[in-house]
Symmetry: C2
Subunit: 136 residues, 2 copies
C-alpha cells in the first residue's frame, strides 16, 4: 500500500531541471534492451507510479504522453530507479507490442556508429508505423 508521505518525499527528492523535467531511460525488463529515453515531470512520474504504466511529459506537445495511448503499445512498469544525483530515472518495463519506437523499430536506438564513422541501421522493424498510427 502506498504511504502518501513517503511517496511525496520521493517526488520531492527528484532534482527536476529548470523546466521541471528529468530524463527517463527505459529498459525492456525481459532482456534489458534500452528502448528509449523520454522526459517526466513530477505529475507524470506520480501517475506512472500509481497507474503502473509509463506516462511521460511531451516536451514538444506540452502535455502528458501516456506511452501506447495511440498504438496500444503500453509500457507496464516493473521497477523505477533513481540515480545518485537524483536527476535521472531508470524504468524497467514490459513493452506491449514488442516495439517502443514510433518508426516501428523495437528500440529508438536503432542506428549504430560504425568503425569508419558511418551510421548504420542495426535493428529489425517490428511493425509498420503506417498501419499502427494510421498514417504513412
Amino acid at each position: 500500500m502506498i504511504d502518501e508521505t513517503k511517496l511525496k518525499n520521493f517526488l520531492d527528492a527528484v532534482k527536476w531541471d529548470a523546466s521541471g523535467l528529468a530524463p527517463c531511460v527505459v529498459q525492456d525488463a525481459r532482456d534489458l534492451r534500452v528502448l528509449m529515453v523520454a522526459y517526466m515531470n513530477r505529475a507524470s512520474l506520480e501517475r506512472t507510479f500509481r497507474e503502473g504504466r509509463a506516462c511521460y511529459w511531451s516536451r514538444s506537445r506540452g502535455k502528458f504522453w501516456l506511452k501506447g495511448e495511440e498504438s496500444g503499445n503500453f509500457q507496464e512498469v516493473r521497477s523505477i530507479q533513481l540515480d545518485c544525483d537524483g536527476d535521472c530515472l531508470l524504468l524497467f518495463a514490459g513493452q506491449k507490442g514488442g516495439a517502443a519506437c514510433h518508426t516501428g523499430m523495437r528500440s529508438c536506438f536503432y542506428r549504430t556508429l560504425q568503425e569508419d564513422g558511418t551510421l548504420a541501421v542495426t535493428e529489425e522493424r517490428v511493425f509498420d508505423p503506417g498501419k499502427v498510427y494510421g498514417k504513412s
Copy 2:
C-alpha cells in the same frame, strides 16, 4: 579506418540541445546494466569515438570529463548508438574496476522505488570512495 567526411556527417546529425549537449546512457557491455547517464558535446563525442574511452562534458565543471581519469575506472567503448530523434546517445562500455558511480556503487541507479513509495538502496557497494578518490 575513419572516413573523416562520414564522421563529420554523423557529428552533424546529432541534434545537440541549446547548450550544445546530448544525454548519453551508458550500459555495461557485459550484462547490459545501465551504469549512468552523462552528457556529451560534439567535441567529447568525437574524442570518445577516436580514443575508444568514454569522455563526457561536465556541466558542473564546464570541461571535458574523461571518465576514470581520477579513479582509473575508464569506460572502454564497445559501441555507440543514436536514437530516432538524434538527440540521445547510447554507449556500450567495458567498465574498468566494475563500478561507475562516484559513491562506489556499481551503477548510479542504486536506489529503487518500493511499492509503498520508499526509496531503498538495492545495489552492493563495489569500492570505498574514500580510498579511490582520496577523500571520505
